[in-house]
Every structure is written in C-alpha cells, then in structure tokens.
Symmetry: C2
C-alpha cells in the first residue's frame, strides 16, 4: 500500500479526510505540523505553496488542504482567512454581520494539494448553500451556521448523524483526488 500523509494542525480535518479515504482503502497518516501560509486571494495558491513547505518538512508523499467559507453578501468574507476569522469573531460575528439580511448565499470551498517532491497537483470541491439564522449544534468551525443547498439543516446537524460527508466540499475534493491517485499506482 502506498504511504500518504495528511499535513495539518487541525485534527478535525484529519478525521474527515481519513473517513473518506478509508472507504477507498487508502491509509492516511496524520502529520501534525503547523505550516506558514502565504496570504493570497486564491486558496489554490495557498494549498500549493503549503504542499511545498510540507514536503520540505517530511520528505514523503503528502496531501494538504486549504478551505474557506465565501459569503456572497460579504464580498467573499471570511474566505481565505476563515480560520483566523473563526478564532476571533466566530459564528456569532458572522451572524451579526448578516443581521437584517435575507441574502445569505455562501459557498464552502476546499482545495487539496498532493505533493511527492516531484510535482504538486490540486483538487477542488465546492458546496453551495446559505448561512443559517441561528447557530446549531454539531460539527466544528462554520459547520453550525452553513446549510447546504436543497437541505434545511446545517453541516453541524448533519455531522451529528454522520451525514455531513455526503454533502461536504471536502469530500468532493477528496473524491477527485482519489480518482487521480488510484491511477498513479
């Protein structure tokens, strides 16, 4: 079996990645490393750059992810800085910014970058939806305020019954990665 590491400082993300990849018989190790990220308008560029830094650290084939929640009414905010903005103003802050607004469209985007020291390849996944009016239970990060299109519950609630992965931007990107990765063998 090929060896593959997921380099991240976020264990919740690792659990989601492992859960999807194990369905395809791919074993992924958690390499808990906090990497410098560039500031960029493009999460794809952030992921690519991060995959190169990560490879220099561990010198083994790896994947990294960068993701973000892009809210139309807020010009894409929190976007590529979702993690920092979650830690400072959190979901309460997002709901406050959208107070009084019925236009709540948002997109969760995920980019995985695979790097084996020879080249780096990216895989994108997106899930469209809306920002809820209340914070629900379940999940982590922005999960409790994001309702995927066609449903009436948040990622948080879906996570509690192990259904988030069917709708997740992260799963979509990972599925694209798996299609490609399995042809590498």
């Amino acid at each position: 079996m090929k060896s593959l590491s997921f380099v991240s400082s976020n264990y919740n993300k690792y659990l989601e990645v492992q859960s999807v990849l194990s369905n395809y018989g791919i074993n992924v190790e958690f390499a808990s490393i906090s990497l410098n990220e560039i500031q960029s308008d493009s999460i794809k560029n952030i992921a690519l750059d991060k995959s190169e830094r990560a490879y220099r650290e561990i010198l083994k084939p790896l994947i990294v992810e960068d993701d973000g929640l892009f809210i139309d009414r807020l010009n894409g905010f929190p976007g590529q800085y979702s993690s920092y903005i979650f830690k400072t103003i959190g979901n309460l802050g997002i709901l406050k910014l959208l107070e009084g607004s019925a236009f709540r469209n948002a997109t969760f985007k995920s980019v995985f970058a695979f790097n084996d020291g020879k080249s780096s390849t990216t895989f994108v996944g997106e899930t469209k939806g809306k920002i809820s009016y209340k914070i629900t239970e379940g999940g982590w990060g922005y999960d409790p305020i994001f309702i995927p299109e066609g449903l009436d519950v948040t990622f948080g609630v879906l996570q509690m019954t192990n259904k988030k992965s069917f709708f997740s931007h992260r799963t979509k990107a990972l599925n694209r990665f798996v299609d490609w990765y399995n042809r590498l063998i």
Copy 2:
C-alpha cells in the same frame, strides 16, 4: 544622499511615509510592487518576510510596512488581516460587529522593516484608542472609525487638517526608524 525605497502597493501609505521622512531630509522613492505575504500571528514577522521578498525584487535598500488595527472586544480582529477585511466588510462591518458594545478599545500597530540585502531591522509604533460609533469623513482605511486616546475626533478628521501624523502609529514607527537610520551614515 542615501537612496531608499518604500515598497508597497498602497500609495496612501507612501504619501504618509514620504511626508514624515522628508521632515528629516530623507528622500524616499515609491516602488509600487504587490508582494506575497505570509499568514502569521505577528505583523513583525510579516514585515520581515516581506522585506526579504522586496529586496529580491529591487536589490536596493528599502523599507516595507505591515500594520493592523487590533480591536480588544473582537480578540484582535481585524489584526494582521486588516487590509483584506477592510476590502470585504469595511468600516460598516466593524461597526456592526461592535453594535451594542461600549467596550471599544483598539490599538493601531505599525511595523517597518528596513532591508539592505545584508540584514533586516524592524521598528514598531503603536497608538491606542477607541472605535467610534459612526463613520466620519477623511483619511483612508480604518481612519474614519478610529479615535486616538485623549482626543474626541477620528484619524479621518485629523487627516483632513493634516494632524493625523502627530498621533499616528506609523509616524511613531518611522521616528524610531529615522533615529536608527541617521546613525547608519
């Protein structure tokens, strides 16, 4: 006269830098370059890293600046991502996040990094104050919502009468730079 460039994509910042340095007989050129920035909790690290990227571009002695507005009630937000957050949610967003809060303390921080290809040195300036309840005229960026300690008008209003520089975090950092720079000769 020694040659010195200010590398930035922000012409408003250049005008402020030039206005302060010209008082000391230092001539500074504007090098309009947009540089990649790392994501970091520390604006000092961002400025240091940026000064190295800038030197590789122009190969001449230079200064760069990184700055941010740190709001206590919002755990330091918008902080090191002040520029992105201004472009997305703007001053209206900041006021909305602080709606109903009387605790409005904030600090404007500026870090300049000088780089001549041999070494990089940083200079810090800070101005404490409060976030206003309304957006005023004048200035740019967060100037129209920041009231420096001891005054009752915003940086925006002060800028209109050319008084911002007496209270500015940027001026304080530049003064420290000048003290050091003039001894370099």
